[in-house]
Amino acid sequence: MKTALYIAAMAIVTYLIRMIPFTSIRGKIRSRFIRSFLYYIPYTVLAAMTIPAIFFSTGDARTAAVGAAAAFIMSYFGLPLTAVAFGASAAAFVASLIF
């Protein structure tokens, strides 16, 4: 029950974030600080979510480190999201066979 409530909260909040600006805001946000803040938010959220969690994501720090290294290298060379996601998994899997 509690989980259902949490899931509903996630869905409602996520929808409202998309819907309210899409139906109402047409003007440009004037505050340069807020525009800048909003510009960096996606990157800081993803960075904070990824590090250090990625190193705990496979249940073994060594395979996770190999997978993370693969992800970082492939991302650096601009490979598509799906390729990086697979490559990281494949690297972690291969590492798990070795360790």
């Binding site: 989980t3 409530l5 949490y6 899931i7 909260a9 996630m10 869905a11 996520t14 929808y15 974030i17 998309r18 819907m19 309210i20 600006p21 899409f22 139906t23 805001i25 047409r26 946000i29 600080f33 525009r35 800048s36 803040f37 909003l38 510009y39 960096y40 938010i41 996606p42 990157y43 800081t44 959220v45 993803l46 960075a47 904070a48 979510m49 990824t50 590090i51 250090p52 969690a53 990625i54 994501s57 496979t58 395979t63 997978g67 993370a68 693969a70 992800a71 970082f72 492939m74 991302s75 650096y76 490979l79 999201l81 799906t82 996601a85 990281a88 998994s89 972690a92 899997f93 798990s96």
Partner: protein
């Protein structure tokens, strides 16, 4: 073009998105079940949220026994980027994109759909619906398969798949950090804060850690590197 043609074009153009989502959400399904959710719960989350980072964070908080306030604040912060995308898209809507269409289509503003939609000069609602259907089909199917079949997979494979979403996040941040020093500084600052909370201040719940780290780092970057209008355009593209 007729409504049907717009819709079909959307269905077709979003096939790469749908395929990508299928595999990434497979990883989400595994992660959700590992965190103690049922297959049905994981699938409902994907069908009603249609977003990767927000769902992953939500599940982390649920697993951590977090509060509903943490869930709401985290979703607000993580998904705030959709508000920006919605604002950007609202500037390029076709005249057919009436208010009821806005109310429905808003559900489907994801990073990838936004990227495709923003390439349109005049965005047709049925084109957007087409893209949403293909993308959501991949996202929900993948979640269901990951959540239900993930436990059938050998542990070594499902463990390895657990890293997928994080790999995708890296693939979003790193290329941009390579191009822009400001993004690099913002991401490294956020990562440093996050490591600090993980190993030094261990008592703060994960939901708040993400909010605090992301907000602080974005504020630092906003002060050090205020964006110009062109950068905002680039971010929208």
């Amino acid at each position: 073009m007729t409504k049907t043609k717009h819709f079909l074009k959307g269905l077709y153009n979003a096939v790469p998105i749908g395929l990508g989502y299928l595999f990434v959400s497979f990883s989400f399904g595994i992660m959700a079940v590992k965190s103690g959710l049922t297959t049905a719960q994981a699938t409902v989350i994907s069908a009603t949220n249609l977003t990767s980072a927000g769902q992953a964070a939500g599940v982390e908080i649920i697993a951590d026994g977090g509060t509903i306030i943490q869930i709401i604040l985290t979703q607000l912060l993580i998904n705030l980027r959709y508000a920006l995308m919605a604002i950007a898209l609202s500037q390029k809507l076709a005249p057919e994109f009436t208010m009821p269409h806005r109310v429905f289509a808003a559900f489907g503003i994801t990073d990838e759909i936004f990227a495709m939609a923003s390439m349109e000069k005049s965005l047709n609602p049925f084109y957007m619906y087409g893209m949403i259907v293909t993308s959501a089909a991949g996202w929900v199917t993948g979640t269901f398969l990951g959540a239900s079949a993930g436990s059938i997979l050998p542990a070594s494979i499902s463990d390895a798949l657990g890293i997928m979403l994080y790999g995708m996040f890296a693939a979003i941040v790193i290329p941009e950090a390579r191009k822009q020093k400001s993004v690099l500084v913002a991401a490294l600052t956020a990562a440093a804060f996050s490591v600090f909370f993980k190993f030094v201040i261990k008592t703060v719940p994960v939901g708040f850690v993400i909010i605090i780290c992301a907000s602080a780092a974005a504020a630092v970057a906003a002060v050090l590197f205020p964006v110009k209008d062109e950068e905002e355009q680039e971010a929208a593209a």
